[in-house]
């Protein structure tokens, strides 16, 4: 009883910290504005009061069209990556797995690269949304192939991982070939995309991100017992009356689709999906019902905090790099302090 209460207290603490940082993050702009002022701007906008002068109009636009969706987007994307990483690590029973294990990020990068270098888009959309749509469609390809193989063959977690690796290499190779002829400026754009950033998130992208978080949470609520059982090993799961293959397939499809949405808006932000589940496991243990909510919140925390730092140091710092800089020392500390980290033998 006290143990499960401890878990919920840990989750609650992280949640409160995340909320505080998000609230603060909204007021981090390139010109000085206090915390209270920035929230006044938001409240006034929500009440429908028109900004009276030029200065206020700029503030209103910067905060309401720039920072607010960006912070919300960062927390949603962080949440998606956290949950997806946790579920993926359960599915393939491997601490090195992350949301991109099936090859999503390299496929998405390929979609972006053919758009930027050859100008091919699947839907004839204007530049940016065509790019996003390209990334999304291509990122579904590896998952589709994996489903086809799973239907035809008996698949083990190791096999799924290896198929993912093969898909990743194939798409990366195509991307490299295309990049090889690219102009330096285009190359820089591609590299920026592959590091990932939340700067392009707008109000229009939030509903889809919110939808994928909701889908992931529904999956967790309906399947958490099955996932727990699956992580004990396939034989154990079968003898307890569940079908681990089916659970794994459902989880992987849902996770891949949701991750694809996140990736197409933000680029492939690494580190979060891999490390957040481990940090959460060290905080609350490996039970699915506690680990997945904790991963969601920790992911949101890490990405928002990294984005805030990146912005307060000035423009140009990619959020993926900042995430790793603040995340990895914390992670190493936890790893060596708390030893086996739930995976140990």
């Amino acid at each position: 009883m006290s143990k499960s209460r401890k878990r919920w207290i840990a989750i609650l603490v992280v949640l409160v910290i995340t909320l505080i940082i998000s609230a603060y993050s909204v007021s981090v702009l390139s010109f000085n504005i206090s915390f209270v002022e920035s929230w006044e701007v938001i409240i006034r906008h929500l009440e429908g009061i028109e900004p009276s002068n030029y200065y206020e109009r700029i503030r209103d636009t910067l905060i309401f069209e720039g920072n607010l969706p960006r912070v919300l987007g960062a927390s949603l994307i962080g949440g998606i990556l956290g949950i997806s990483g946790a579920i993926m690590q359960y599915c393939v029973r491997n601490p090195l797995a992350d949301p991109y294990t099936t090859g999503i990020s390299s496929a998405a990068l390929f979609g972006v690269t053919i758009c930027l270098t050859l100008g091919i888009t699947i839907l004839p959309l204007t530049n940016d949304s065509g790019l996003v749509f390209n990334a999304f469609v291509f990122s579904l390809v590896p998952c589709a192939i994996m489903i086809l193989i799973s239907i035809k063959r008996k698949t083990t977690p190791t096999m799924l991982i290896l198929i993912g690796i093969a898909m990743m290499y194939i798409f990366t190779a195509f991307t490299m070939v295309l990049k090889y002829n690219a102009e330096p400026e285009v190359l820089q754009q591609i590299i920026e995309w592959s590091i990932g950033s939340v700067s392009k998130v707008t109000w229009d992208s939030l509903p889809l991100l919110l939808l994928s978080v909701a889908v992931l949470l529904i999956l967790t609520i309906t399947h958490y017992k099955k996932i727990d059982v699956m992580s004990a090993g396939d034989n154990m799961a079968i003898s307890l009356g569940t079908d681990p293959k089916k659970t794994r397939l459902i989880c992987m499809i849902v996770v891949s689709a949701c991750t694809s949405i996140a990736v197409s808006f933000s680029g492939s932000i690494g580190f979060v999906g891999l490390v957040v589940p481990h940090i959460s496991r060290l905080l609350v243990g490996s039970r699915t019902s506690a680990l997945i909510p904790c991963s969601a919140i920790t992911g949101a925390f890490l990405l928002v905090a990294a984005d805030t730092l990146a912005r307060s140091f000035g423009a140009g710092l990619p959020v993926g790099a900042v995430t790793a800089i603040i995340g990895s020392p914390v992670f190493l500390y936890f790893l060596f302090k708390m030893r086996s980290g739930g995976w140990g033998k």
């Binding site: 096999m159 290499y169 490299m176 820089q188 580190f271």
Partner: protein, 369 residues
């Protein structure tokens, strides 16, 4: 009667024992045959790879040029023979030798890392060697060394030294706790991310031309390899490989799990640390010279295991041969397609190897990792 039946039983048992032994020896012989076949194929492809350059020489002409150079034949400057000699001896031969050594090193590092960590996702770069080396390159570019002209040996040494930092950090940190494979892997991953992000911070400051150069190096390239760096690589790869091969029987035991391994007289923690250091030296030497060549280290051991099983005594040599063949073919492909020799070898490797790999995974559905 009962005696009889006992005897027949014993006889039957002996027979089946014989069958078993015979089965073992046949499979061992088959494995040796596969090794022999791979070795012969490797030698032929290695020589053939030197025919792919601008000189249009045949297989035997290449051998002749090398033989003549070794026997000290001198040519008049700017004649056809002189050009042949310059191309083959100055470019193709060191490149072929480097590819050979690098492939062996990467395959050995990959196979042993996977056994060591008991994880099919592990590769030679798992403990962060590549990210350290990349940071080394970025640092040397930022402090003003030039990648293309002159300073290549300095850059190699700097990258090599940087590539050892993550491994050193892991070794220094791990004795305090019990170093389980997953802890080591995760520590390696965290350090890789840390170094990569430091790298990104440095690269934000450089212009896009330099970025392209650094980027080429980070995807692996054989075009800057010459005689000057070859001894360094051979030294590190040989030393590391000898250590790893010496330990390969103990690595086999490690796959039974730590408890069984220690009851059979192996100290898993020390074995892991020792192997990690050896692997870091091998990979550090290669990465320092040619950048981060992916795919071979991760995938060739799997391909070999799917065909001949997971005994490290066979996996390590077979994976080395297969890695050499793949890398030479990929390098030949790169040179044949582009005159300027700037297609990243990683791309060609994946294009050749990944479909074979995918086919093997799908066909061999009983692959036991």
């Amino acid at each position: 009667m009962p005696e009889d039946s006992v005897e027949t039983n014993v006889e039957n048992y002996m027979e089946s024992e014989d069958d078993l032994a015979e089965g073992y020896f046949t499979s061992a012989r088959n494995k040796r045959l596969i090794l022999l076949f791979l070795a012969v194929a490797t030698i032929i492809i290695a020589i053939f790879s030197m025919t792919v350059n601008g000189r249009h020489l045949s297989f035997f002409e290449v051998l002749e040029v090398i033989y003549n150079h070794l026997t000290g034949v001198e040519y008049d400057i700017y004649t056809k023979e002189w050009f042949d000699d310059t191309y083959i001896w100055g470019n193709s031969l060191p490149r072929m030798l480097f590819t050979l050594v690098a492939a062996i090193g990467l395959a050995i590092a990959g196979a042993s890392m996977q056994s060591l960590m008991n994880n099919p996702l592990a590769d030679p770069y798992t403990v962060g060697v590549s990210s350290g080396a990349c940071l080394g390159l970025a640092v040397s570019v930022v402090i003003g060394l030039s990648v293309n002209y002159g300073d290549s040996l300095t850059i190699v040494i700097l990258s090599f030294l940087f590539s050892l930092i993550p491994m050193a950090a892991i070794v220094l940190l791990s004795p305090k706790t019990r170093a389980s494979p997953s802890t080591l892997i995760l520590a390696g991953v965290a350090l890789s991310y840390l170094f990569n992000s430091l790298n990104t911070f440095l690269l934000v400051t450089v212009d896009s031309e330099t970025l392209t150069v650094i980027y080429t190096w980070q995807t692996g390239t054989l075009s800057s390899v010459g005689w000057d760096v070859l001894p360094v690589v051979i030294l590190f790869v040989t030393a590391g490989s000898l250590v790893v091969s010496y330990l390969s029987k103990q690595l086999n035991l490690l796959s039974l799990g730590d408890a069984s391994a220690s009851s059979l007289g192996v100290d898993p923690d020390n074995l892991r640390i020792l192997c990690l250091v050896a692997i870091a030296f091998i990979v550090g030497g290669i990465v320092g010279c040619a950048g981060v060549i992916g795919f071979v280290g991760l995938v060739t051991p799997h391909m070999v295991r799917m065909v001949i099983g997971s005994d490290n005594r066979y996996v390590i040599p077979a994976a080395s041969f297969l890695a050499i063949i793949l890398m030479l073919l990929a390098d030949m492909g790169c040179r044949a397609v582009s005159d300027y020799d700037n297609i990243p070898i990683g791309a060609a490797l994946s294009l050749i190897g990944a479909p074979i790999f995918l086919y093997l995974i799908i066909r061999k559905n009983s692959y036991v990792w």
